[in-house]
């Protein structure tokens, strides 16, 4: 979502770990309350980021904003470390876990052998699908969504038709923080909370570029291509070259693809004028 507004969501997953770490305070807080509290913190953080950083960078090039968000990511990571320590934490907010027996039984009947699918993965898929649908609807059909896309297109033009840049930015960072919170909770439940999650957030960039910025269907298709592609590549070619190809496959694919189609799959054609 940050991308849609011409910004880069690099600091976001760090926000997420930031949020999900909140449970491990001196006292215990009920999970639902903690999540709500974290969402509130995200909004506060969005407000602060807008006030302290982005307000001063209006009209700058995307690459400057990108570097600023990297700086922000470092700052938040340091802050989170100082507040909660850098060790890996277990996270349990009550999402179902373990192997789904039902699916194993059903697929066992269909194919003669069962599929082992973690119940958490099923939930994650469901939640992700719901989030995507909600975000698409928000961006396409609401007033704020349209304003957001206008800001992404051109800061000055958006301001001249009366859109408040500040409100949109606070809103976008809040939404991004919320999405990151959900992603962080799911990832944290699966593999523990730690601050090296920021490297995973980086992988969102080739996905977006492959699909094309400004296009939500593009992001989904790009995600599917890269997600499926890197697993297949690892499976077929990986053993021949020593494995661990997942580290770079997404980037190299995006690089090669962009050489032939710089705007990505569904992006708008880039027109440059002197």
């Amino acid at each position: 979502m940050g991308i849609q507004n011409g910004q880069v969501p690099f600091a976001h997953l760090i926000n997420a770990t930031f949020g999900t770490s909140l449970h491990h305070f001196g006292w215990t807080v009920p999970a639902v309350l903690a999540v709500a509290l974290t969402a509130l913190i995200m909004v506060l953080l969005a407000f602060l980021i807008e006030k302290l950083v982005l307000q001063h960078l209006v009209g700058q090039e995307p690459i400057i904003l990108f570097m600023a968000t990297i700086g922000l990511a470092y700052f938040l990571e340091g802050l989170g470390d100082v507040m909660w320590g850098a060790d890996i934490k277990a996270l349990d907010v009550g999402l179902p876990q373990g192997i789904s027996d039902g699916i194993e039984a059903v697929t066992g009947q269909w194919f003669g052998y069962g599929f082992f699918i973690d119940r958490l993965d099923l939930w994650a898929t469901l939640i992700a699908a719901m989030l995507v649908a909600a975000l698409v609807a928000f961006a396409q059909y609401t007033k704020q969504g349209r304003a957001m896309r206008a800001v992404a297109d051109d800061h000055q033009a958006a301001m001249s038709v009366g859109i408040s840049l500040r409100f949109i930015w606070v809103m976008v960072w809040s939404i991004a923080g919320f999405v990151a919170l959900v992603a962080g909770i799911m990832w944290g439940t699966k593999s523990g909370v730690q601050f090296s999650l920021s490297l995973i957030a980086l992988k969102a960039l080739p996905v977006l570029m492959l699909g094309g910025f400004t296009s939500i269907p593009g992001a989904i298709v790009g995600g599917l291509i890269i997600g499926v592609g890197e697993k297949l590549f690892e499976f077929t070619i990986g053993p021949m070259v020593g494995g661990a190809t997942e580290n770079w496959f997404a980037y190299v694919l995006a690089l090669i693809f962009l050489v032939f189609r710089p705007q990505g799959l569904f992006g708008e054609r880039i027109i440059e004028r002197v």
């Binding site: 880069v8 302290l52 950083v53 001063h56 960078l57 090039e61 995307p62 690459i63 400057i64 990108f66 570097m67 600023a68 990297i70 700086g71 922000l72 990511a73 470092y74 700052f75 938040l76 990571e77 340091g78 802050l79 470390d81 100082v82 320590g85 850098a86 490297l199 980086l202 960039l205 080739p206 570029m209 070259v241 020593g242 494995g243 661990a244 190809t245 580290n247 770079w248 980037y251 190299v252 995006a254 690089l255 962009l258 050489v259 710089p262 440059e272 004028r273 002197v274």
Partner: protein
């Protein structure tokens, strides 16, 4: 009078276009060079060499390289760590394959090999621009690190997957390996840093540098006035990678001695060098040195102060350092996008008019 052009007459174009047009600057430069070459090698000890001066000089070379690409030619790269790894592994393979050839030649060759790899990964820059290119260079970073991790030929099939630099000498003084002394390490880095800074300064103010800057300011407009974007961009990638490769070779062979690719040349190194040129100043030779000095000294000072004086745990100091660096990046981007170099220039301009500013 101090710090004035007045009385400093220039009678040729050559004098007029020199790097330090003001006499006091020139003397200051000669004095610093005299101290760096003539005094420091005799008083340097292991702590100063290993904690401060050697890493400063090596990172200054890397920052110079990235500054050529990002500051002068406007092509943002996040692949610095990967290119440094190329330099390090190239020098390792050369050192072990041809033990009789001088290490200086090996380091230069490693720079050349890195330049070749840099041009290869620079090819997409003709189609991809700005932010897209930054992400595309991440491909170089992750792919190269993976390559050096997975292909045993690069680390000579050693069991640990590490590369260890053997002892090599220059003028009968060991500069690499465990026997190397602090002055020898310092001097070889200083010679390379000096020569490369001189080269960078003269490249960037010549016709090549003007082409790079035209491309940076607007590549379509530059193409229209007759700058060949293919040559300008690829030459920027080649020169930049040459510098970064030498920095990587020195980092491995002289400073670290032994390296494991993911740890020594990971994505964090790319960000570190990028931060150096942002804080130091994009498009400035002095800025590369200032940024490198700043980010090398900051952890040392923080550690001495927080851990040594206040007795805080080391990891807390490291986290605070992360916060400070992050906050500084954002502050510099907002307040002074041209970095320390610009502040230095402003101070000098003020000094020229002092004590009668208009």
């Amino acid at each position: 009078m101090i710090y004035r052009e007045a009385g400093d007459f220039k009678t040729s174009y050559r004098d007029d276009s020199q790097t330090f047009p003001i006499r006091l600057d020139r003397w200051g430069y000669y004095a610093i060079m005299a101290v760096a070459f003539g005094i420091i090698p005799f008083v340097i000890n292991d702590y100063w060499a290993n904690a401060v001066l050697v890493p400063f000089l090596i990172y200054a070379i890397a920052a110079l390289g990235l500054n050529v690409l990002t500051g002068y030619a406007g092509q943002v790269s996040l692949g610095t760590g990967g290119f440094m790894a190329v330099g390090a592994y190239a020098v390792y393979k050369l050192m072990t394959s041809f033990p009789d050839v001088s290490i200086v030649i090996h380091i230069l060759l490693a720079g050349g090999i890195t330049a070749g790899v840099g041009v290869l990964f620079g090819l997409p820059s003709l189609r991809i621009k700005g932010f897209y290119l930054a992400v595309a260079t991440l491909a170089a970073q992750f792919f190269l690190v993976w390559l050096f991790n997975k292909v045993p030929w690069f680390y000579n099939y050693s069991a640990s997957g590490q590369i260890t630099s053997p002892t090599r000498t220059v003028f009968d003084q060991a500069v690499t390996g465990p026997a190397a002394t602090a002055p020898a390490k310092y001097l070889i880095c200083l010679v390379f840093a000096f020569a490369l800074a001189w080269l960078a300064r003269n490249l960037t103010r010549g016709s090549l540098g003007r082409k790079w800057m035209a491309i940076r300011d607007m590549d379509i407009a530059a193409e229209i006035i007759g700058v060949n974007p293919l040559r300008a961009k690829l030459s920027a990638f080649a020169v930049s990678s040459f510098f970064i490769g030498i920095a990587g070779a020195l980092l491995f062979a002289v400073y670290l001695g032994a390296a494991e690719v993911g740890e020594a040349f990971g994505i964090n190194k790319s960000f570190l060098v990028l931060f150096m040129i942002i804080i130091g100043g994009l498009g400035s030779i002095f800025g590369s040195f200032a940024g490198a000095a700043f980010l090398v000294l900051l952890p040392v000072l923080l550690k001495n102060f927080l851990v040594g004086n206040m007795g805080w745990p080391t990891d807390l100091a490291a986290h605070i350092e992360l916060m400070i660096v992050g906050a500084l990046i954002v502050t510099f981007l907002i307040v002074e996008p041209h970095g320390l170099a610009r502040l230095w220039r402003l101070a000098k301009d003020k000094l020229r008019l002092w004590p009668f500013p208009h």
